[in-house]
Symmetry: C2
Subunit: 228 residues, 2 copies
């Protein structure tokens, strides 16, 4: 079996589990964003800020992918939401079968279920987890050449979130250069500037989540209406 | 064929090419560090500073791994050293067969051949490229929890280089917390603090390279001596 054939087969097993998850999330009205970035771009920190802003209004839960530790799930549990760590034991991405197994343990019922992928700007891009949309995070300290260097995720993400903008005065990072690359790769994508430290942009991100959740539920209501 | 069996077979094809490269680098007296980090940790920037400091004394060359662009090789060629980009077209790591094919095109003969891997703290760890040693870079903006979260690379790297220490005043990053994790994972590894912007620590890194090159050549001379 060639490497390509094997990758195809693994992806297709993943896609079966992803289809199962997408149906389940649709039926339960759960919005699922899949957060992808390099290690240290601020995924967990953004989620902490999101939980602080939204957990009074929405039921939130999280699945955290990590190579080797429980640290990220611990951080979110401390804020009072159910969070489950999937430790991949070396694997470079979450796959849908792992997510499915975790959901079957129960306790993650929510309006919004955040999936925080393993810190990796490459591999998680190819794995459908049944999510509603992918979100890519890029911190201003990583350099403004990254979207064109990692076009896979930047072209697939429905939202690109620039993080740590409080550090802009100290680094060479031209926001407009990045915005232009992201617009080229994902013309319909959203582009957000955030700092979890100052709180800037977090409200816009939370509004985006609320809009996506409402749109998903309205679409489901229309599908359920008599005559459909 | 199971995923594990396939991974084994792919690794073993890689290992054959890596053995070929290691023999070649040994015969030619070329030192080969394999630089691994997240996207944007400063691999290319460190190499630029290294070339500026060492190219008067040593013949330097570089192989740059990237998903989709020639940018990094361009940056090094501008400094006057031969640099070749391997564009993986989506693959998340360099493998030894790609490096071997690039060397067979010629023009990369050097005292030190830097291999800059694809920006990814996970996958490149498992692929032997025939290098003398792996180097992991971690920028202070990525957070001080990373060695224990990515133990594979931090336990295998002969040197851990903390980059962008000029940004320490603006981020929460406890150097001693990181040093302790690195020492646990790699008790014999070197731990360097650097800033390519201020130049701090670059001399120590260059001394480390010169020591490793001398040690490799002395060991080769002893092996060639009569009686051996």
């Amino acid at each position: 079996m060639s490497q390509i054939e094997v990758n195809r087969r693994l992806l297709s097993e993943n896609d079966l589990a992803a289809a199962f998850l997408r149906e389940k999330f649709g039926r339960e009205g759960t919005l699922v964003p899949n957060l992808i970035s390099s290690p240290g771009s601020g995924k967990t920190t953004l989620l902490e800020a999101t939980v602080a802003a939204m957990s009074g209004t929405y039921r939130l839960a999280a699945i955290e992918g990590d190579i080797a530790t429980e640290r990220d799930a611990d951080r979110l549990r401390r804020l009072g939401i159910p969070a489950r760590q999937i430790i991949t034991g070396g694997a470079c991405h979450l796959d849908a079968r792992l997510v499915r197994a975790e959901l079957e343990r129960g306790g993650l019922e929510a309006d919004i279920l955040f999936v925080e992928n393993v810190g990796n700007l490459v591999c998680p891009t190819s794995y459908d987890l049944g999510e509603d949309f992918k979100v890519v995070l890029l911190s201003v300290t990583e350099g403004d050449d990254k979207p064109f260097k990692y076009p896979g995720i930047f072209s697939r993400a429905a939202a690109a979130i620039i993080t740590k903008i409080d550090l802009l005065p100290y680094v060479d990072f031209d926001v407009e250069v990045v915005r232009a690359q992201v617009n080229t790769l994902s013309p319909d994508g959203r582009f957000l500037l955030t700092s979890a430290r100052t709180g800037e942009g977090v409200d816009e991100w939370c509004r985006l989540l609320a809009e996506k959740l409402n749109a998903k539920r309205k679409a489901a209501d229309r599908a359920d209406a008599p005559g459909n």
